[in-house]
């Protein structure tokens, strides 16, 4: 993942209770690539479609939302709501002829770091196969 900065920025919206813990741990261990822009949310249910689109507008090549597992959300339905908003954003991207795989929802168990590593790897792999959305 050392070359990730060459393939564009990835924005990760992370639940403060679960996924953010993992990203903090990974960042402390130097395992978060520089290209990953982590934005913490009190709950991923707080995420709105304009914020997801705005991340792309501001230069992201890929965006992912990492929230609690569906049955573990502190706010009961936060990550389910986030998943729906990611789905709606996919629909908009598709309408704009932008690959909807540039955005994804991931579910993370509290304290797990591996799903975040895998999410970053997955999104990196996806955008490495696509043309750049933004000029360098």
């Amino acid at each position: 993942m050392n070359n990730n900065h060459q393939i564009g920025r990835i924005v990760a919206f992370c639940c403060n209770y679960t996924a953010s813990v993992a990203t903090d741990t990974l960042r402390d261990a130097g395992l978060i690539p520089e290209s990953l822009d982590v934005r913490k949310l009190p709950c991923t249910g707080r995420i709105e479609v304009p914020a997801l689109l705005d991340a792309f507008e501001q230069g992201a090549e890929a965006v992912f939302v990492a929230g609690c597992r569906v049955d573990e959300c502190h706010n009961l339905s936060g990550s389910r709501r986030a998943e729906k908003r990611v789905g709606y954003t996919k629909k908009i991207l598709k309408e704009l002829d932008i690959d909807p795989d540039r955005i994804e929802m991931f579910f993370v168990h509290y304290g797990e770091t591996q799903p975040i590593v895998e999410a970053v790897r997955e999104m990196t792999a996806r955008i490495s196969k696509l043309e750049r959305l933004h000029s360098i």
């Binding site: 709105e48 479609v49 304009p50 689109l53 507008e57 908009i92 309408e95 704009l96 959305l133």
Partner: protein, 222 residues
Amino acid sequence: MIIAEQKPLDEILEMISGVERLLVLGCRGCVAVCSTGGDKEVGVLASALRLGRNKAGKPIKIDEETYVRQCDPEYLEPLKQDGENYDAVLSMACGVGVNFIADRCPDINVLPALDTSFYGANLSSGEWAEMCAGCGACVLHLTGGLCPVARCAKSLSNGPCGGSVGGSCEINKDLPCIWHQICEKLTGRNQDQLLREIVPIRDWRPSGHGGPRRRIREDLLP
């Protein structure tokens, strides 16, 4: 309320193809309540259009604004001056708002972002259904409050057609036959004598077939 749906993005992008400065103008009336043209939807559409235009290599300057209503003249006043700053105003109101801007602000190039669909009710979050056709001659007192004009596929006035099967409409088995429901309801209330009344052929002129409609209340005129 009036229910509307956003037009496909490629249609809107085509509409604004020559536009360099655009105002996306929402409405806090019906279209905000049905989550199609309020503040949030203005933000989403503006963002999507910027992304689309950037991708096409033709960046666009988009401002976002939402008026209380686009169907009352006082709320459109600011647009007469502010609208001069834009090549086009993309209205996220229903067709009433778009028409009213075109009438009141003739120098503004107003474009519709929505397809206005019907008068409907909110069944649950994210789901709306047609309940009224605005026909101008309400018969709900004869039908248990259920509208055969809006909710019968054939707008029949005197009972179900032969395609009503098991309580479902022949055009879609998931669509309840409203005449089946009317009969059930009136019979259950011992009001089935209403079903025996023959409703004469409907005069469709009040529904708009007699030309654009206008209502005047003398005591409120200036």
